[in-house]
Every structure is written in C-alpha cells, then in structure tokens.
C-alpha cells in the first residue's frame, strides 16, 4: 500500500445510546481506524461488538434523538460528524455507499427493482430516465444478474437472496463511490452464493478503484478479501494489523482465541477446538480494566487495573497489557 493520505480516518469515535430511565449504553468507544484509497479494510467482531454501529455513525445514519456521537470521522479531510443532513445526503450514495446485510429488508418490497436502481443515478447524476435505465441494465449485468432487462421490471420478492444482494451492490456502485461499506454482505447467503457475491465485490470494487470497509464476523471472509483488519471486542478495536501478520500470529488473546475456536475445513479431523470460555458481555465494562479479561486465559493482574489504550506494539496496534508472544507458531506459518 502506498503512503497516500487516508480516504477515511476515524478518530476516537464513540456512540452512546441514551434511553430515558435507564443507564446510558456506550456501544462504541475510542474507535480509530484508517482506510486509504482503494484499500480493503475489515472490521471484525461478534454480535454486539459495535461494528455495525460504527459504520452507521460514519454515514450519519444513526437517529439524532437518544444517540450521542463524538470523535472525528474525516473523509478527505472533512469531518462528516459536523456536516448538515443536506450535505450528507449529497455524499451518501455518491461518495460513500453502503450494502446492508439483509437484502430483503433493505429493498422496498412494493417498488420494482429498476426504479430502486435508477433512483440513485437520477438523483445524484441527474440522468434522464432512458439513460438511467440503460446504466441500471449494464450495472445488473456487471454484478452477474442474467436477463437484466426483465429483472428491472420485477419486484424484490421475485428475486432470490443472492440476486437481491447483487442488486444492492449494483445500487451501491451505481455512482462509482470512493468508499463502499458492506455490513455482513454475505451472512444471509448460502456458501456457494456467498462465494459468488464475494467475487462480485472483489472484482467490481477493484474495477472502480473504490475502497471497501467490510464488516463481518467471519474471519474466513476477511482472510480472503481484506488488506488490513481491525478486530473489535465490546465496542473497541483491540487489534489492528495487516491481514497477513494478524493471521500468521494473532497477538491479542481475543483474536488468538477466535482463531483457535473456529473449526477449519483444512484441519485434520479430531483436531481439538479451544473455545473461549464465557460469553461476550452485553454492557461495555471497560471501566475496570480490559473488558476481555474475564474470558482471557492470558491475563495478569495488571489487566484489571485501568483500561488499556490502543497503542503500537511491534508491527501492529494492540489494546492489551499482556499480548501473546510475537513469534507463536500457528498453522498458517507452519503451512508456508
């Protein structure tokens, strides 16, 4: 990767949900990461780790009532958190686009697919109807939908899950955005369809020189697609590294624990799994030291003092007092 300025730079992003009569919930805190032009960055975490909320905050899609967002989200030097709604509307779809997890609930069920695809093109590029339609057709063809002319006249329920997700990708890429945020784009799909959709993402995003922020819980998907990976736990980034370094030798005990607990297709049968004990916490307990400490097999007394900051340790950024050894032989390394 070149040393160009970041396209998106998120600094100390924090999101707090305030519900009357209940203690405030800090879903995301101290989240910082960079995306350079054309780069593929993964944001990995389990449900409740704050990865989707971070993405929504970046796009300004969180409701204004009951939500406090702080920090900086710098897109080409402009702080998105200070932009007006009108300015954000101009940006969304044109500069930054998003693909959501569930294609059925993010497409309007009573509007033909074609209208939904052309809407973006007409609004942002003021194209006339016929031109928008032609472009929509070629977009659908690009994402691998057969007979696009007919599909444009159909409604979302007439398409299969994989096709609906392709339509969403087509809509997102319609105005050639500089940054595509994909939130669990393949989680609702079967593996063979997932492979198709990932291939579409890989090729099309590369074609348009867009950067990709991929939000997922699946480390396998990240391993195949992303340049850099940010691992989130309990609302904070705990490990941030290049893909190859991360998978070769995870240094945060949570990352290491995740990799050791996933059954792998290429592992010998009967290879033992090492689960992480306990379950992810629902509240965000970073006040009394590391939130992962109660589940951590590598903790020391210092872990329970104050919450560790995200700081450069060796070749990556870590939020850990007592990280795993830098040279831990893993299957990934042994396979070299």
């Amino acid at each position: 990767m070149s040393s160009t300025d970041p396209l998106l730079s998120v600094r100390n992003l924090a999101v707090t949900f305030v519900v009357r009569g209940q203690p405030a919930v800090r879903a995301v805190d101290e989240v910082s990461f960079d995306i350079r032009p054309g780069q593929y960055v993964g944001l990995v975490g389990e449900s409740g780790s704050g990865k989707s909320v971070s993405a929504l905050a970046v796009l300004g899609l969180l409701p204004s009532r009951g939500v406090q967002v702080s920090g900086n989200v710098l897109y080409r030097g402009t702080d998105l958190l200070t932009q007006s709604d009108a300015e954000m509307r101009k940006l969304r779809g044109r500069e930054i686009a998003m693909v959501f997890q569930d294609p059925m609930s993010s497409l309007n069920p009573v509007v033909p697919v074609g209208v939904q695809v052309t809407e973006v093109i007409r609004r942002h590029e003021h194209a006339d109807k016929a031109e928008a339609r032609d472009r929509a057709e070629s977009l659908l063809r690009k994402v691998g939908i057969p007979d696009p002319g007919r599909r444009l006249r159909e409604y979302p329920h007439q398409l299969s899950g994989g096709m609906r997700q392709r339509v969403l990708i087509a809509i997102a890429l319609a105005c050639s955005p500089k940054l595509l945020i994909a939130d669990e784009p393949t989680t609702a799909l079967d593996v063979t369809i997932q492979a198709q959709v990932l291939e579409v993402l890989r090729e099309l995003v590369a074609d348009t020189d867009a950067a990709l922020l991929l939000i997922t819980h699946d480390l396998g998907v990240v391993a195949g697609l992303c340049d850099d990976v940010n691992v989130m736990y309990a609302g904070r980034v705990v490990e941030s590294s290049s893909r190859n370094q991360l998978f070769a030798a995870p240094r945060h005990p949570y990352t290491g624990g995740l990799l050791a607990s996933i059954p792998r297709l290429d592992a010998p049968r009967g290879a033992p799994l090492h689960p992480i004990p306990g379950s992810p916490t629902q509240t965000i307990p970073w006040d009394e030291g590391c939130a992962f400490a109660p589940r951590c097999h590598h903790k020391i007394d210092a872990c329970l003092g104050t919450a560790p900051p995200l700081e450069p340790i060796g070749d990556r950024d870590l939020r850990c007092v007592h990280p795993l050894d830098a040279k831990r032989p893993t299957t990934a390394e042994a396979g070299r």
């Binding site: 389990e46 449900s47 691998g144 939908i145 057969p146 007979d147 007439q158 398409l159 299969s160 994989g162 096709m163 079967d190 593996v191 063979t192 369809i193 997932q194 492979a195 198709q196 990932l198 291939e199 819980h217 699946d218 480390l219 396998g220 998907v221 990240v222 391993a223 195949g224 893909r243 190859n244 998978f247 624990g257 995740l258 990799l259 607990s261 996933i262 059954p263 792998r264 297709l265 290429d266 592992a267 049968r269 290879a271 799994l273 090492h274 689960p275 992480i276 004990p277 379950s279 992810p280 589940r295 299957t331 990934a332 396979g335 070299r336």
Partner: protein, 343 residues
Amino acid sequence: MTALVSVEGLKVHFPLRSGSLLRRGGSVKAVDGVDLEISQGRTLGLVGESGCGKTTLGRALLRLAPITEGRVVFDGTDVSSLGGRDLRRLRQEMQMVFQDPLASLNPRQSIESILTEPLRAHGIAYDRRRRVPELLDQVGLPASAAQKYPHEFSGGQRQRIGIARAIALEPRFVIADEPVSALDVSIQAQVLNLLEELQDKLGLTYLVIAHDLAVVRHLSDDVAVMYLGGVVEQADSDALYADPQHPYTRALMSAVPVPDPIVEARRERILLQGDLPSPADPPVGCRFHTRCPFRQETRCDTERPQLRLVGPGHQVACHFAQDIAAGRIRPHQVTPDEAAVET
C-alpha cells in the same frame, strides 16, 4: 457394523395447493429418494445449502414430517408404519436439538420444567431433585439454573439447555439441526465440544445437519452431501474432504472461506453460477446439471445418476465421477443465463 438408523428410498413431497398464490398443482419434492445408514455410536453429517431438504429429511426420521414413500428403520423397527403409542415409545429413543435455542424454549417455563417435560410427557417416573441437577451438570450448567427462565441465559447456555432436554430421556439417537449456526463465533466451539463429550459419555449416535462444512467436518465420522432433495455424495469424512468427487461437493468445499490468507490465496475456487432450482420443478436428469461446470452432452440432462461406489465406502451420484477425477473432463464456463432459473 450394524446400522442403528437406515433410510431406504425416502421421499417427502409436500403438495402444492392450487390456491390464489400457487396456481399450478404438483408438489415440492423436498426429499426425493434418499438412502442413508447411520451406524451405532457414529456421527453422520448432513450438509447442503438452504432448500436442499436436509432439515425435512431430519424431521422425517422422527416422523415430524410426513413420509410420502420409502422406509425409515430404527433398530429393526420400521418407523414409517408406526402410529400412536408405538411411535411415541420410539421417540424416547430419538430426540432433536433445534437451531434457535430461544425459539425452541418456552420463555414462560422454568428450566426445571423444560427439562422434566419430556419425562412427564412420556410418563417416566423421575426424582426431580436428582435428575435436574444431573442433567444440568452433564451440559456444564450450575444446579442453580433450574429455577431460572430462558431469557436469563446467553445463547450458548440456552443451547446447552436444549441439549439437556434432548438427552433427558436417555435417547440413543440425537438429531442436531444446525446446533451452532445461531451462536456467536466464540461460543460455537463450546457447544461443539459439549456434543462430542456427550457422545463419548453416553454412547450417542448423531445425525448432525448443518450448512457449515467445517462444523460438519469437525463432528462427523461420515458425511452425506445433499443437493435439491437427493444425496449426491456420501463417504467417510476424511475421504470426502480429502478427495471430493461430485462436482457439487467440490464447488461447495471450494466456496468455504478458510481463516488463513495463505490458504485462501492458494486455493482453487470453483464458482457456481445461478441459484438453486426450485424443488417444485427440479431439473430432469441430474439435478445439478444446470449449474455443473463438468456437464456433458449425453446422460446428464436425461438420466438421473444413482449413488454408486467409487472407492471403499465412497458413494457418488455422478455419471462422470471417474472421468472428472482422472482429469479426462475439464470444467467449462457455465453462463449465468443457462443457469438462470425462474423464481
């Protein structure tokens, strides 16, 4: 090796009513001619994508789905012809763990009540103060859990409760339908380890139904791959993963992401085009021929291949399995239009 469960020519067809939405008649052929054997004490993994009929097959084994044709034999008894009291008695031996632990536990029932309900339903005498803590202990939950309700537990703990309920009747055969797919990644391994531990301790026979090949690979001795209502390949787990023979199995395995960038970069990927055809109107001949990169001019679209032995215990339903394995048939591009299916 004796088969505890054997399935012969099983078909489950659901009639399509000619109503306002579904005007054509006919039926959805969810399971269409399946033969399987599960040996005592072993685990058979059943993999396939959504809509391939794997859940229906599992339910049909317990007679939770109506059997249209064929036989299910459990330890010498033909399940498909049983009714009433005999069927109930047999179900004590066969239990099920469901996918979504929250949806399959009654939110208003205490854990104790949930765990003893199967015993009450089957009229089995039990000592509540002994049996409930014992069951909870077997699945790694504290005895204090008995008085709590499902919402007080995390997803992984709820699935443990679902498993405790399934083993409450001391069954010999347990069907686990997507036992971990609703759980967080860091929790899945706990439940997988628990299932293995219980099998060793209680001598259980498992049918594990899952879409995740890595999960099935981890748990299973034998694996059957389903596509559109039929089994396309069946083998010992090691043999299947080392040397998949059916084009669909190959594509399925190449599509599973591995959390290792080096492996990911090196892997040969077989991308399938199009979607699963409708099981109400499956393709004639080989069910997979519309998406198969190895399709040949003859036989594939006219003659439905039957499972046949290609190695010790390794069965494949493909006319050209040997030619593909030997490299005599090369994959070709399938155009999306060719694979397109009316939805």
